[in-house]
Every structure is written in C-alpha cells, then in structure tokens.
Symmetry: C2
Subunit: 80 residues, 2 copies
Amino acid sequence: MTRVEVEYCVPCGMLNRARDVSEAILKQFGESVDEVALVTGDDGVFIVRADGEVVFDKTEDEYDVDAIVRAVKPHVGATA
Amino acid sequence: MTRVEVEYCVPCGMLNRARDVSEAILKQFGESVDEVALVTGDDGVFIVRADGEVVFDKTEDEYDVDAIVRAVKPHVGATA
C-alpha cells in the first residue's frame, strides 16, 4: 500500500514537472503503488513524498526525474 | 478541500488517458482542488471521482476530457 505525493507550486507553473514525475513513477512501478497524488501548493514548493516520507525536496536536491524514481523505489512492494 | 481520483487500468495501458485527465483538471482548477490522485487499478477500470462521488465511469459514459472537467466543476470551490 504505497501512496506517493507530488506537491508542486501552482503559481510557479510546476504542473508539467509534477506531471512528468508522476508519470515516470507510474510507468516504473504500475500497480505496485496504490496511487500517485498531485497535490497543489504554492510558495515554490516541489516535494515528493512516499508514504509520508520526503524523498525529494527541491530546496535540497537537484531535480532529476530518474533520481526521484530511484528514491521512491524502496517504498514500493518487492515486485517493482 | 476537494480530492479528485482518477482510477485507471494499468495493464490496459490507460496511463496516458489518466494523465491527460488529471492534467486537464489541474490546469482548469489549480489550487481550487487539493489534489488529483492517479489510482492504479485493473480489469478495465476508468473511473473519475470527486470527493468520493463518481463523475465519470467509462462503462457508462463516453470518454471526453472536457466533459470530465465539467463534471468535476460542481465539486470545486467557488473560485474555479
């Protein structure tokens, strides 16, 4: 039962980035994740959480879709 | 506090369609929705829910992104 959240800044125009991340995660893990939620935010936020744990925060990490997918992987069932 | 769910059939290859619907909803409503969740499923499912209420089910409705966005609208805050 894995829930991934991609919280992104709406006024900053980060929807495309959030969409790319969510799509990459779902392509990689399919039904091994229960859901990927695109969560609307503001104030520059771009944070990815897996089961509540932050696996990417743009204030600390360099944006890299593949790295985000890898960071999600430990939270996903063994079939991934 | 509006949560939209797009539940789609993973083995049927409906991710692209689910992505298009989620993107259209987020483009239209932005921060007026709290989140759009892409929920993984199987067995041909393609259902969109707004705050738990089914607004689109492919077994009953013809697929039309704009119609889905319109069906979500009543569930979104007055700023939409």
